[in-house]
Symmetry: C2
Subunit: 129 residues, 2 copies
DNA sequence: ATCAATAACGATAACAGTTACTATAATCAA
DNA sequence: TTGATTATAGTAACTGTTATCGTTATTGAT
Protein backbone atom coordinates (compact mmCIF):
# COMPACT_ATOMS: atom_id res chain seq x y z
CA UNK A 1 0.00 0.00 0.00
CA UNK A 2 2.62 2.57 1.05
CA UNK A 3 0.53 5.60 2.00
CA UNK A 4 1.85 8.75 0.46
CA UNK A 5 3.20 11.38 2.80
CA UNK A 6 3.43 15.07 2.07
CA UNK A 7 6.82 16.60 1.49
CA UNK A 8 7.78 20.20 0.82
CA UNK A 9 10.37 19.07 -1.69
CA UNK A 10 7.86 17.15 -3.77
CA UNK A 11 5.47 20.08 -3.66
CA UNK A 12 8.18 22.39 -4.94
CA UNK A 13 9.02 20.03 -7.80
CA UNK A 14 5.34 19.77 -8.72
CA UNK A 15 5.00 23.53 -8.59
CA UNK A 16 7.97 24.01 -10.89
CA UNK A 17 6.67 21.50 -13.43
CA UNK A 18 3.27 23.18 -13.35
CA UNK A 19 4.66 26.60 -14.19
CA UNK A 20 7.46 25.96 -16.67
CA UNK A 21 7.19 25.21 -20.36
CA UNK A 22 10.80 24.06 -20.55
CA UNK A 23 10.31 20.27 -20.36
CA UNK A 24 13.26 20.13 -17.97
CA UNK A 25 15.57 17.20 -17.38
CA UNK A 26 15.90 15.81 -13.86
CA UNK A 27 19.09 17.82 -13.49
CA UNK A 28 17.39 21.06 -14.52
CA UNK A 29 14.65 20.42 -11.96
CA UNK A 30 17.33 19.73 -9.37
CA UNK A 31 19.14 23.01 -10.06
CA UNK A 32 15.89 24.96 -9.86
CA UNK A 33 14.51 23.40 -6.69
CA UNK A 34 17.96 23.73 -5.11
CA UNK A 35 17.34 27.48 -4.91
CA UNK A 36 14.50 26.89 -2.48
CA UNK A 37 16.01 23.79 -0.83
CA UNK A 38 19.78 24.17 -1.06
CA UNK A 39 20.39 20.78 0.52
CA UNK A 40 18.03 18.78 -1.70
CA UNK A 41 19.52 15.65 -3.18
CA UNK A 42 19.44 14.68 -6.84
CA UNK A 43 18.11 11.29 -5.75
CA UNK A 44 15.12 13.01 -4.16
CA UNK A 45 14.40 14.78 -7.43
CA UNK A 46 14.53 11.52 -9.39
CA UNK A 47 12.39 9.71 -6.83
CA UNK A 48 9.71 12.38 -6.92
CA UNK A 49 9.74 12.84 -10.67
CA UNK A 50 9.20 9.13 -11.14
CA UNK A 51 6.56 9.13 -8.44
CA UNK A 52 4.68 11.97 -10.12
CA UNK A 53 4.97 10.22 -13.48
CA UNK A 54 3.65 6.97 -12.00
CA UNK A 55 0.71 8.80 -10.44
CA UNK A 56 -0.07 10.44 -13.76
CA UNK A 57 0.70 13.93 -12.47
CA UNK A 58 3.60 14.37 -14.88
CA UNK A 59 4.79 12.89 -18.16
CA UNK A 60 8.22 11.42 -18.67
CA UNK A 61 9.48 12.02 -22.20
CA UNK A 62 12.19 9.57 -23.23
CA UNK A 63 14.68 11.08 -25.65
CA UNK A 64 17.60 9.56 -27.51
CA UNK A 65 20.91 11.23 -26.54
CA UNK A 66 20.58 12.96 -23.20
CA UNK A 67 18.36 12.52 -20.22
CA UNK A 68 14.61 12.11 -20.07
CA UNK A 69 12.47 15.24 -19.97
CA UNK A 70 9.53 15.92 -17.67
CA UNK A 71 6.28 17.69 -18.44
CA UNK A 72 3.76 18.84 -15.85
CA UNK A 73 1.01 19.17 -18.46
CA UNK A 74 -0.69 15.83 -18.52
CA UNK A 75 -3.39 16.39 -21.15
CA UNK A 76 -2.59 14.30 -24.26
CA UNK A 77 -0.30 16.18 -26.61
CA UNK A 78 2.76 15.54 -28.75
CA UNK A 79 6.30 16.83 -28.54
CA UNK A 80 8.85 18.31 -30.90
CA UNK A 81 12.58 18.12 -30.23
CA UNK A 82 14.85 20.59 -32.02
CA UNK A 83 17.90 18.74 -33.32
CA UNK A 84 19.89 21.99 -33.32
CA UNK A 85 19.37 23.34 -29.80
CA UNK A 86 17.75 20.38 -28.01
CA UNK A 87 14.67 22.34 -26.96
CA UNK A 88 11.44 20.38 -26.47
CA UNK A 89 8.23 22.13 -27.53
CA UNK A 90 4.57 21.18 -27.07
CA UNK A 91 2.80 20.68 -30.38
CA UNK A 92 -0.68 22.09 -30.86
CA UNK A 93 -1.84 19.45 -33.31
CA UNK A 94 -5.00 17.49 -33.96
CA UNK A 95 -5.41 14.11 -32.36
CA UNK A 96 -3.67 11.25 -34.15
CA UNK A 97 -4.49 8.44 -31.75
CA UNK A 98 -6.12 6.60 -34.67
CA UNK A 99 -2.66 5.39 -35.67
CA UNK A 100 -3.03 2.79 -32.90
CA UNK A 101 -5.80 1.14 -34.93
CA UNK A 102 -3.74 1.46 -38.11
CA UNK A 103 -0.89 -0.33 -36.35
CA UNK A 104 -3.21 -3.03 -34.99
CA UNK A 105 -4.53 -4.03 -38.44
CA UNK A 106 -2.03 -6.71 -39.45
CA UNK A 107 -0.80 -7.39 -35.94
CA UNK A 108 -1.56 -10.31 -33.65
CA UNK A 109 -0.87 -8.64 -30.31
CA UNK A 110 -2.64 -5.79 -28.55
CA UNK A 111 -1.60 -2.19 -29.19
CA UNK A 112 -2.15 -0.16 -26.03
CA UNK A 113 -0.30 3.07 -26.66
CA UNK A 114 2.48 4.75 -28.57
CA UNK A 115 5.04 7.45 -28.07
CA UNK A 116 6.04 9.92 -30.75
CA UNK A 117 8.65 12.58 -30.91
CA UNK A 118 8.87 14.85 -33.93
CA UNK A 119 12.30 16.10 -34.94
CA UNK A 120 13.43 19.12 -36.93
CA UNK A 121 14.51 22.72 -36.53
CA UNK A 122 12.69 25.14 -34.24
CA UNK A 123 11.77 28.70 -35.27
CA UNK A 124 14.55 30.24 -33.17
CA UNK A 125 17.22 28.09 -34.79
CA UNK A 126 15.89 28.79 -38.29
CA UNK A 127 16.18 32.52 -37.62
CA UNK A 128 19.75 32.22 -36.37
CA UNK A 129 20.93 30.41 -39.50
CA UNK B 1 37.86 12.37 -45.28
CA UNK B 2 38.58 9.35 -43.06
CA UNK B 3 38.48 6.59 -45.67
CA UNK B 4 36.66 3.54 -44.43
CA UNK B 5 38.71 0.38 -44.11
CA UNK B 6 37.35 -3.12 -44.25
CA UNK B 7 37.19 -5.14 -41.06
CA UNK B 8 36.04 -8.70 -40.55
CA UNK B 9 34.40 -7.72 -37.28
CA UNK B 10 32.25 -5.05 -38.91
CA UNK B 11 31.30 -7.46 -41.67
CA UNK B 12 30.20 -10.02 -39.11
CA UNK B 13 28.07 -7.47 -37.26
CA UNK B 14 26.46 -6.38 -40.54
CA UNK B 15 25.80 -9.99 -41.47
CA UNK B 16 24.15 -10.68 -38.13
CA UNK B 17 21.89 -7.62 -38.37
CA UNK B 18 20.93 -8.63 -41.91
CA UNK B 19 19.79 -12.08 -40.89
CA UNK B 20 18.12 -11.64 -37.51
CA UNK B 21 14.67 -10.31 -36.77
CA UNK B 22 15.49 -9.87 -33.09
CA UNK B 23 16.27 -6.12 -33.03
CA UNK B 24 19.22 -6.90 -30.76
CA UNK B 25 20.82 -4.57 -28.25
CA UNK B 26 24.53 -3.80 -28.56
CA UNK B 27 25.21 -6.41 -25.92
CA UNK B 28 23.24 -9.08 -27.77
CA UNK B 29 25.23 -8.31 -30.93
CA UNK B 30 28.40 -8.53 -28.88
CA UNK B 31 27.52 -11.94 -27.47
CA UNK B 32 26.64 -13.27 -30.93
CA UNK B 33 29.69 -11.96 -32.79
CA UNK B 34 31.85 -13.17 -29.92
CA UNK B 35 31.20 -16.73 -31.11
CA UNK B 36 33.05 -15.99 -34.35
CA UNK B 37 35.54 -13.51 -32.83
CA UNK B 38 36.05 -14.58 -29.22
CA UNK B 39 38.33 -11.63 -28.51
CA UNK B 40 36.08 -8.92 -29.93
CA UNK B 41 35.56 -5.94 -27.67
CA UNK B 42 32.23 -4.42 -26.71
CA UNK B 43 33.64 -1.06 -27.75
CA UNK B 44 34.21 -2.39 -31.25
CA UNK B 45 30.57 -3.46 -31.42
CA UNK B 46 29.34 -0.04 -30.33
CA UNK B 47 31.68 1.76 -32.71
CA UNK B 48 30.54 -0.29 -35.67
CA UNK B 49 26.85 -0.20 -34.81
CA UNK B 50 26.97 3.58 -34.66
CA UNK B 51 29.01 3.66 -37.85
CA UNK B 52 26.44 1.53 -39.66
CA UNK B 53 23.61 3.66 -38.30
CA UNK B 54 25.37 6.85 -39.43
CA UNK B 55 25.88 5.40 -42.91
CA UNK B 56 22.21 4.45 -43.09
CA UNK B 57 22.95 0.72 -43.18
CA UNK B 58 21.17 0.09 -39.90
CA UNK B 59 18.57 1.78 -37.74
CA UNK B 60 19.08 2.62 -34.10
CA UNK B 61 15.85 2.32 -32.12
CA UNK B 62 15.90 4.32 -28.90
CA UNK B 63 13.82 2.73 -26.16
CA UNK B 64 12.94 3.90 -22.68
CA UNK B 65 14.28 1.51 -20.02
CA UNK B 66 17.10 -0.58 -21.41
CA UNK B 67 19.56 -0.13 -24.20
CA UNK B 68 19.00 0.96 -27.76
CA UNK B 69 18.04 -1.71 -30.30
CA UNK B 70 19.48 -2.15 -33.77
CA UNK B 71 17.71 -3.13 -36.96
CA UNK B 72 19.44 -4.15 -40.19
CA UNK B 73 16.29 -3.57 -42.23
CA UNK B 74 16.47 0.04 -43.33
CA UNK B 75 13.26 0.36 -45.34
CA UNK B 76 10.82 2.67 -43.52
CA UNK B 77 8.72 0.73 -41.02
CA UNK B 78 7.44 1.06 -37.49
CA UNK B 79 8.18 -0.88 -34.32
CA UNK B 80 6.21 -2.46 -31.54
CA UNK B 81 7.69 -3.07 -28.10
CA UNK B 82 6.01 -5.65 -25.86
CA UNK B 83 5.78 -4.25 -22.34
CA UNK B 84 5.61 -7.78 -20.92
CA UNK B 85 8.65 -9.48 -22.48
CA UNK B 86 10.53 -6.57 -24.03
CA UNK B 87 10.50 -8.04 -27.53
CA UNK B 88 10.63 -5.59 -30.46
CA UNK B 89 8.60 -6.54 -33.53
CA UNK B 90 8.41 -4.99 -37.00
CA UNK B 91 4.95 -3.70 -37.81
CA UNK B 92 3.45 -4.35 -41.23
CA UNK B 93 1.32 -1.22 -41.33
CA UNK B 94 0.36 1.35 -43.91
CA UNK B 95 2.43 4.49 -44.23
CA UNK B 96 1.62 7.22 -41.72
CA UNK B 97 4.26 9.76 -42.69
CA UNK B 98 1.44 12.27 -43.24
CA UNK B 99 1.48 12.92 -39.50
CA UNK B 100 4.52 15.11 -40.16
CA UNK B 101 2.29 17.53 -42.08
CA UNK B 102 -0.36 17.30 -39.37
CA UNK B 103 2.27 18.27 -36.81
CA UNK B 104 3.58 21.11 -38.98
CA UNK B 105 0.19 22.84 -39.25
CA UNK B 106 0.28 25.12 -36.22
CA UNK B 107 4.03 25.04 -35.80
CA UNK B 108 6.60 27.67 -36.68
CA UNK B 109 9.62 25.42 -37.08
CA UNK B 110 10.40 22.72 -39.63
CA UNK B 111 9.34 19.13 -38.99
CA UNK B 112 11.84 16.80 -40.58
CA UNK B 113 11.04 13.41 -39.13
CA UNK B 114 9.52 11.54 -36.24
CA UNK B 115 10.04 8.38 -34.30
CA UNK B 116 7.26 6.19 -33.03
CA UNK B 117 7.19 3.13 -30.87
CA UNK B 118 3.93 1.32 -30.25
CA UNK B 119 3.48 -0.39 -26.90
CA UNK B 120 1.27 -3.24 -25.77
CA UNK B 121 1.24 -7.01 -25.39
CA UNK B 122 2.58 -9.36 -28.06
CA UNK B 123 0.75 -12.49 -29.23
CA UNK B 124 3.09 -14.81 -27.32
CA UNK B 125 2.51 -13.00 -24.03
CA UNK B 126 -1.27 -12.92 -24.54
CA UNK B 127 -1.24 -16.69 -24.99
CA UNK B 128 0.79 -17.27 -21.84
CA UNK B 129 -1.61 -15.28 -19.67
C1' DA C 1 0.94 17.59 22.95
C1' DT C 2 3.35 13.20 22.81
C1' DC C 3 4.33 9.19 20.88
C1' DA C 4 5.20 5.38 17.67
C1' DA C 5 5.07 3.91 12.93
C1' DT C 6 6.69 4.76 8.64
C1' DA C 7 7.44 7.60 4.50
C1' DA C 8 10.81 10.85 2.77
C1' DC C 9 15.08 12.84 3.13
C1' DG C 10 20.34 13.75 2.00
C1' DA C 11 24.56 11.59 1.10
C1' DT C 12 26.78 8.47 -1.27
C1' DA C 13 27.66 4.11 -3.53
C1' DA C 14 26.40 1.22 -7.20
C1' DC C 15 24.70 0.33 -11.59
C1' DA C 16 23.72 0.21 -16.87
C1' DG C 17 24.68 1.77 -21.14
C1' DT C 18 27.89 4.02 -23.73
C1' DT C 19 32.00 6.63 -25.18
C1' DA C 20 37.01 7.82 -24.93
C1' DC C 21 41.84 6.54 -24.65
C1' DT C 22 45.98 4.01 -26.04
C1' DA C 23 49.15 0.78 -27.61
C1' DT C 24 49.05 -2.95 -31.03
C1' DA C 25 47.34 -5.12 -35.26
C1' DA C 26 45.09 -5.15 -39.79
C1' DT C 27 44.14 -2.94 -44.17
C1' DC C 28 45.47 -0.92 -48.37
C1' DA C 29 47.73 2.09 -51.91
C1' DA C 30 52.20 2.96 -53.94
C1' DT D 1 57.27 -4.61 -48.92
C1' DT D 2 56.84 -0.63 -47.01
C1' DG D 3 54.57 3.26 -44.97
C1' DA D 4 50.42 5.68 -43.80
C1' DT D 5 46.30 5.19 -41.62
C1' DT D 6 42.16 2.92 -39.90
C1' DA D 7 40.45 -0.64 -36.73
C1' DT D 8 41.11 -3.39 -32.90
C1' DA D 9 41.20 -5.18 -27.87
C1' DG D 10 41.44 -3.85 -23.43
C1' DT D 11 40.42 -0.74 -20.16
C1' DA D 12 39.20 3.57 -17.99
C1' DA D 13 35.98 7.13 -17.82
C1' DC D 14 31.63 9.17 -18.26
C1' DT D 15 26.37 10.03 -18.04
C1' DG D 16 22.01 9.22 -16.45
C1' DT D 17 19.73 6.78 -13.08
C1' DT D 18 18.60 3.69 -9.17
C1' DA D 19 19.58 1.55 -4.63
C1' DT D 20 21.23 1.69 0.10
C1' DC D 21 21.27 3.52 4.63
C1' DG D 22 21.20 6.19 8.72
C1' DT D 23 18.60 10.42 9.96
C1' DT D 24 14.58 13.57 9.68
C1' DA D 25 9.76 14.74 8.78
C1' DT D 26 4.98 13.60 8.55
C1' DT D 27 0.95 11.51 10.23
C1' DG D 28 -2.58 9.19 12.90
C1' DA D 29 -3.62 7.49 17.42
C1' DT D 30 -3.35 8.25 22.11
Amino acid sequence: MAALKYSRQRESIKQYLATTYDHPTADMVYLHVKEEFPSISLGTVYRNLNLLADMGEAIKIATPNGGDRFDGRTNPHNHFLCTKCGKVIDLDMEDISHINETAAKNFDGIIESHSIIFYGTCADCIEKS
